[in-house]
Amino acid sequence: MSSPSTFENVSLLRPGEERRLPWYHLVVTGLAGLLVAIALLAIFDVLTVPSAILLGFVLHLLFGYTYSRIREGRRWAMDRLMTLVVIGAFAIAMFPLFSLLWAVVGKGLVRVIAAAPTPFAFWTADMSGVIGGADAGGVFHATVGTLLITLWASIISIPVGLFTAIFLVEYAHHGWRRRLGQGVTFLVDVMTGIPSIVAGLFGLAVFIAFMPDQSVRMGIMGAVALSLLMIPTVVRSSEEMLRLVPMDLREAAYALGVPKWLTIVKVVLRTAIAGLSTGITLAIARVIGETAPLLLTVGMVTSVNWNMFDGRMATLPTFINQQYRAGSANCMSDTVTNPVNQEVYACSITTNIDRAWAAALTLIVIVMILNIIARLISHYFSPKLSR
């Protein structure tokens, strides 16, 4: 606190007084900034809450800096300014998160709860027979599709990813295996960076190269495309977890005469099981929201398709996209009648958009459940190795 400048100003300070200003000066400059912002915006007649907060923050930076520069000096003023800027950066990042969650929950929940004909029918109905602006239909078919395709992607990816991680950690130590291991590590990095649309093109190109029908689309194609995106994340997280297992445990097992593969299964994997499950759950959560590959490989239908190897499938992400694309519906009257089964539905212009929001809510709920499961696993089941 004793730079030369303070030394000159020392007469201004009472004995024992800090050169820094107390915190409430910050509140004063902050309020001043906000008030001036509101006044300015009101004069130009563009006053809204976000614009007032934004301009208020900028003015606060200005006022706080100037005030602090006069009272505390250049260096502390800069420090205060940067503290505010850094906090502002964090607040900027929180804004999209909360506004997105607010929009999805606010708009989606209404549609899910108030779905015709019974509450939560949105989760048990599919889109068959839903025409025009009919305020009906749901995402049961899409949820089934999403879960099935993700399940198959996991069935492909988890063994491959896990064994690759085991290879990298347990086998790639000497000679040609070491070199292969280095190559695999590099390629896994490359795979992590594959754009999802390219994964979709791959899934499509592989199947249409071997199928007579060029327009073939089925669930397994989507699962193959998704596993291309899932394998690298599984390898990455599993490798990290397996490397955390102490060498002592392996050596103790070898000393007891346990074969290498049994050591890996019963010692290494068992010790790392919590971390592995967490990583795999997060990989599933990442892949379950992928849209672009599924857009190319599985198409869209209006009813449930349980068969992964035959026919198109609906999934939640592609359903959201489709309903969003459909936009607002046409309503000639208050009701829509299905010409086939003569059922009468209420007509709503916003029905497609509402369904998109509700499906987005469904998807986010699934992703969040997976994330919470992952955190719970790592919280309750991780072995207390260190710390």
Binding site: I92, R177, W261, G289, A292
Partner: protein, 337 residues
Amino acid sequence: MSTTEVTPDTHEGSSVSLQSSRRRLGDSVFSALSVGSGLLIFVTLALVAIFLTTESMPAVMESREATGSASGFSLLETTLPLVFGTVLAAAIALAIAIPVSIGIALFISHYAPRRLASTLGYLIDLLAAVPSVVYGLWGGLWLVPRLEPLYLFLNQTLGAWPTWPGFVPWVGGDPVIALFAGEPHAPMRNLASAAIVLAVMVLPIITAVAREVFLQTPRLQEEAALALGATRWETIRTVVLPFGRSGVVAASMLGLGRALGETMAVLMILAPGATFSFRILEVGMHQSIAANIASKQAEASGTEMSLLIFTGLVLFVLTFLINAVARWIVARSGVKS
């Protein structure tokens, strides 16, 4: 602590040879599976490259460049505007995301109370957990109408100003790059909106790496700076930021790779066009490779499909190169992420 439940074998004379041969069988099966999985990664990536190349060959062969005739489609004229749109959107997204990410990473690593830091980090990670199609929905329906006043303001105040003086003859662009010029009109499905949503999507990626790097700053150097009377900001400017520079560069490259390859946010927000315009507020001027594939694949077949796969190959090579450079920087700086 989980212990082994393996019962050590009692090596009786008669069963030793049987035991060891069975062991060898188990071991060789397991090692074959592991090595096989490693090789499968090689094969898969080779297949990706091979399939994308072979499936895009028909388009290359039929293009104007290959046949030399004046009719038909041009490979370059189709691909280059898409590459331009992809790169421009990603560049703007990064220009927004990098400073904000550095700020967030500093906030979590050096400003926030220690007890809150991990929770705040988790909030940022939540941004990465939101599916891209939900970002697209939010961007298209919620954000775009709300950005309109901002765009009109920028257009009116800064529209006449050249943001970057210079002539770009090879893309035939404006003599002066004026980002906010032109005549934006509602709905604002322009490149700026897409880039803003892309920025939100790459924020958590850049933040995660930058945070790790900043936390690895040698404690002694920071304390030395503080002991010399530096303020917190001076410590960060003189110690933390120089130490983390290469890490931040690598993180930005990873974010760039993600922004280049992102499909849904661009597809759902941007009204497509095919120009080399730098006017990011004008609607219907740009399109990205990924969004172009997604929007045209349903009706495409034959040569059209092949052309789409060719653009996909271009995207693959582009992201591959950028990721390789990023990994190389990370490996060189010795940062664990």
